[in-house]
C-alpha cells in the first residue's frame, strides 16, 4: 500500500506537510536529490486562498515544477473567463473567490453548477476543453502520482495505489473538493481506493479563525453529510475522524503539537517496512473497510506507542482503545477493527487482545504488521462505525454524544436569523435553491433532524440520502420523487427506474 496524501485547505496543508517532509537531508535547504517521504508517500496541497500559500515555505508552486507543491485549482479560470462570468451572472457565485471561510456549501454549489447546468458545461468545454475545468485541473495534478498515471507507460512501482485526503471539517475548502474529485476518480477507475482523514474543530470559538462553533459545526455537518451519504463505489471508502476537542484537551491550543500527534498516530497506517507477506494493496484495504456496507464507514483511530518490551500486545491494545482515541467512542460498538502495528507483535495475541477489549469475533479483526522504530512499539486501531447505542448520545465520550452536539449546533446556526445563509444579493435561482437546500421540506434541516433522531435511537447510519443544492432547481425531480402525489406507477416509469439503477450498479462495478 502506498498512499497519495492530498491536503486540502489550511488544516489539510499543515498535516500533509508532516506526511510529505523529506527524509533526506538538504544542507543548503534545497535538495539536490529525489524527495524521499516516509513510507514512500507522495502528494500535494490543494488550496483556494493564494495568501495561505504565500504564508508558508514548505510547498512550492506545482506550476513552477516544485515538489512538494501546492495547487490552486481555481487559477485555471482566467479573470475574464466567460464561464466565470456566466456563473456569476446566473448563480451569483464567484469561482475566483479567495477562500471559502467556513462555507461548506459554497464549493459544493459551485461544483454542482458545473455538473448540472448544460449552458455552463458548454461554455467551460469551449473555453477550457473540459466541462469542469477546476476539478479537471486538480485531478490532473493528483493523477500523476497514482497508479492510474503509471498505467500509461510510466513505472508503477513507486506510484500510489490509493488516495488519502486530509481535510478539516468545518472549514470551507476541504470537503468541498473531496466528493467531486472522487467522482472523477471513479469515472476512471470505479474501485480506486479513496480515504479521508477529517479533523473536527474543537468546541467554543476557534482562536485561529475566530469563527463561532455553531458556524463551523454547520460546515462540519454538511461535509460529513456529503461524505457519508454517497453510495459505496460513488463516494469515498472510509472517513477517518479525529476530534480537535480531545486533542486540545491533551495538548492545549498548540496546533503544531496537535498536527504532529495526528501525523504520529497515522504513521502505522502509511508506513512501509511491512512484515513479509503482509503488505496489502490499498484495494484490499478498501474491500475490508467497506465489506458489507452500502455507505462509507466512519473509522475512529485509536493510537498508542510504548517502549519496546516482551509481549506488548495486550497493553498496547488496551491503552490505544482507552487512552488513545482520537475521536471519542465506545469500542464495544465497533463493527470491525483494522489494526496496524509497528514492532514485533504476534498476530494471534493482537487478535485476542482486540477481541477482549471490543467483543468482536476474530473474523472481524484485521491486523497488519510492520517493522518498527528502534526501541518502540506502536499500534493504530481503526474502529469501524463504533456507535449505535440507544441514547448513546447522552453518554459523554461517545461518538454519538459529540456528533449529536455538532448537529444540534449546526441546526442552531441555521435557525439563527443573523446567520444569513441565503444572501440577499444572490439571483433568485440561487436563493430558491439555497432556501430549498437548507430549509425546504426535504432540505438538510429536516435531514439533520432525522439524523439526530436516528442517533438517539442508536440506528446506523445516521445520515441516509445525499442532498444537492441545485438538485430540484436545475436538474428536475429525483427519480424517487417522480411518483409523489399518489398516482399509479406506470410501466414506463418503472422500466426507466430499473434501467437507471442497473446502469448505476454496472458503473459502480466498472462494467
Amino acid at each position: 500500500m502506498r498512499l497519495c496524501i492530498i491536503g486540502i485547505g489550511g488544516c489539510g496543508g499543515h498535516l500533509a506537510e508532516r506526511f510529505l517532509k523529506n527524509q533526506d537531508v538538504a544542507p543548503l535547504k534545497k535538495s539536490l536529490g529525489e524527495h524521499v517521504s516516509f513510507g514512500g508517500v507522495k502528494g500535494l496541497w490543494l488550496e483556494a486562498d493564494v495568501q495561505e500559500t504565500e504564508n508558508q515555505s514548505f510547498f512550492g508552486s506545482l506550476e513552477k515544477g516544485c515538489y512538494p507543491g501546492f495547487f490552486i485549482p481555481h487559477d485555471v479560470i482566467g479573470s475574464k473567463s466567460k464561464t466565470s462570468k456566466l456563473i456569476v451572472d446566473k448563480y451569483g457565485y464567484d469561482v475566483k473567490k479567495q477562500g471559502f471561510m467556513r462555507q461548506a456549501e459554497f464549493l459544493k454549489a459551485v461544483f454542482e453548477i458545473f455538473e448540472a447546468d448544460e449552458e455552463v458545461k458548454r461554455a467551460a468545454l469551449s473555453e477550457h476543453e473540459s466541462e469542469n475545468p477546476i476539478l479537471r485541473a486538480a485531478w490532473d495534478k493528483i493523477r500523476g502520482y497514482t497508479t492510474l498515471a503509471a498505467e500509461k507507460g510510466m513505472s508503477g512501482s513507486e506510484m500510489c495505489d490509493g488516495i488519502l485526503f486530509i481535510v478539516s471539517f468545518g472549514g470551507g475548502t476541504g470537503t468541498g473538493f473531496v466528493n467531486p474529485i472522487t467522482r472523477y476518480i471513479r469515472g476512471e477507475r470505479p474501485a480506486y481506493p479513496v480515504f479521508v482523514l477529517g479533523v473536527l474543530t474543537e468546541e467554543g470559538t476557534d482562536p485561529q479563525q475566530r469563527a463561532k462553533e455553531a458556524k463551523r459545526d454547520l460546515g462540519a455537518t454538511i461535509s460529513l453529510y456529503d461524505l457519508l451519504t454517497k453510495k459505496v463505489g460513488v463516494g469515498v471508502d472510509g472517513v477517518i475522524l479525529a476530534d480537535n476537542q480531545i486533542l486540545v484537551e491533551r495538548f492545549g491550543q498548540d496546533y503544531s503539537a496537535i498536527d504532529d500527534f495526528i501525523h504520529q498516530s497515522m504513521i502505522p497506517f502509511v508506513a512501509g517496512r511491512h512484515y513479509p507477506g503482509e503488505d496489502p494493496p490499498s484495494l484490499a484495504m478498501r474491500e475490508k473497510f467497506i465489506e458489507g456496507l452500502d455507505r462509507p464507514p466512519i473509522l475512529v483511530p485509536c493510537y498508542f506507542r510504548d517502549r519496546r518490551r516482551k509481549d506488548p500486545e495486550g497493553d498496547l491494545v488496551r491503552k490505544a482503545l482507552s487512552e488513545g482515541q482520537l475521536f471519542g467512542c465506545d469500542p464495544r460498538r465497533a463493527e470491525r477493527a483494522y489494526v496496524f502495528t509497528r514492532g514485533f507483535m504476534n498476530l494471534e495475541e493482537i487478535g485476542k487482545a482486540v477481541a477482549r477489549e471490543t467483543g468482536l469475533p476474530s473474523d472481524r479483526i484485521e491486523p497488519w504488521r510492520k517493522l518498527g522504530e528502534k526501541g518502540w512499539d506502536e499500534i493504530l486501531i481503526l474502529l469501524r462505525n463504533p456507535y449505535g447505542e440507544k441514547r448513546g448520545c447522552e453518554v459523554k465520550g461517545n461518538l454519538e454524544y459529540r456528533l449529536h452536539r455538532v448537529i444540534r449546533m449546526a441546526l442552531k446556526y441555521m435557525d439563527d436569523p443573523e446567520s444569513n445563509l441565503v444572501k440577499d444579493g444572490m439571483p433568485d435561482l440561487t436563493k430558491r435553491a439555497l432556501e430549498d437546500y437548507f430549509r425546504g421540506e426535504d432540505g438538510i434541516r429536516e435531514r439533520f433532524l432525522e439524523g439526530l433522531k436516528r442517533i438517539e435511537v442508536g440506528e446506523k447510519p445516521f445520515f441516509l440520502e445525499e442532498r444537492n443544492v441545485f438538485e430540484r432547481s436545475s436538474r428536475g425531480p429525483r427519480p424517487h420523487e417522480a411518483h409523489r402525489g399518489g398516482g399509479e406507477i406506470r410501466d414506463e416509469d418503472l422500466r426507466k427506474l430499473v434501467e437507471a439503477e442497473v446502469k448505476r450498479i454496472l458503473t459502480e462495478r466498472g462494467l
Partner: protein, 227 residues
C-alpha cells in the same frame, strides 16, 4: 583584605585544578594517539564491532519476526527487502564521501609521518614524498584502495535502519570533520620533523569522532535491542 586573599587563592586553586585536568586529558590523549598499535587497534575494533553488531541486529530482527510469525517461517530475502529503507540521495552521497574520507583520514593520520610508525610511512617512499603531488597521490591511493568498500558500506549499513534527521545530519557532518582531520595531518606532514601536538590531538578526535558517528546507528540499534 583577607577576603580578597581567599578569593585569589580560590581562583588560583581552580586555575591549577582545571589546568591539571586539561593537562591530564592532553597527556592521556597524547598517550593514545601516539600509540600507533593501540590507535589502529581501536579503529579496526570499532569497524569490526560495527560489522558484527550489524549482523547481530539483522539476525535479531529475523528471529523476532520469525518468532511472531505463524509457523516461524520467514524468507530472509523477503525480510531484507522489506527492511530496506531509502535514505535519500543527498544523504547517500555524503555517506559514501564520509566513508572514503574516513579511510583516507586514517591513512593520513597514521602513515603520513614517521612520528607514529617509523618503519611504515609515506616518507619511506622517496619517489612519492619527493614528488610535487606526493600528498595528494598518497590520499588518492587510499581513496581508490578503499573506494569500493566505502561505496558499498552506506547502502548495506544504513538502508536497514530508520535514521532520524539528527543522525543523518551527524553523519553528514563527518565529511567536514574528516576533511579537517586530513588537513591537520597534511599540516603535520608539511612541518615534519616539527611536531604540533594540538593539531595531532584535534586530527585524532576528528577521525575517531567521525568513525563513531558513522557507526552510531548500528551501535544504537544494538544497544536498544539489549535494553
Amino acid at each position: 583584605m583577607s577576603d580578597l586573599n581567599e578569593t585569589v587563592a580560590t581562583v588560583q586553586a581552580v586555575d591549577i585544578s582545571s589546568g591539571l585536568a586539561s593537562e591530564g586529558l592532553s597527556s592521556f590523549l597524547a598517550g593514545i594517539y601516539s600509540n600507533g598499535l593501540l590507535g589502529v587497534g581501536i579503529f579496526i575494533a570499532l569497524l569490526a564491532g560495527g560489522v558484527l553488531l550489524h549482523r547481530l541486529n539483522m539476525d535479531r530482527t529475523y528471529r523476532n519476526v520469525a518468532a511472531t510469525t505463524h509457523g516461524g517461517e520467514v524468507s530472509p530475502e523477503d525480510l531484507r527487502e522489506e527492511m530496506f529503507t531509502r535514505q535519500g540521495s543527498n544523504f547517500n552521497a555524503a555517506a559514501v564521501a564520509a566513508w572514503m574520507l574516513l579511510f583516507a583520514a586514517f591513512a593520513y593520520f597514521y602513515f603520513l609521518t614517521p612520528e607514529i610508525f617509523p618503519g611504515r610511512n609515506y616518507y619511506l617512499v622517496p619517489t612519492l614524498s619527493s614528488g610535487p603531488v606526493g600528498f595528494a597521490a598518497f590520499g588518492l591511493f587510499f581513496l581508490l584502495l578503499t573506494g569500493l568498500a566505502a561505496a558499498f558500506i552506506p547502502k548495506e549499513l544504513y538502508g536497514y535502519y530508520e535514521l532520524s534527521r539528527e543522525t543523518k545530519v551527524a553523519i553528514m557532518l563527518t565529511v567536514p570533520a574528516l576533511a579537517l582531520s586530513i588537513a591537520l595531518s597534511v599540516q603535520l606532514g608539511t612541518i615534519f620533523p616539527e611536531l604540533d601536538p594540538a593539531a595531532r590531538g584535534l586530527a585524532f578526535l576528528a577521525l575517531f569522532g567521525s568513525e563513531v558517528a558513522l557507526l552510531w546507528p548500528v551501535y544504537a540499534e544494538a544497544l536498544g535491542g539489549i535494553r
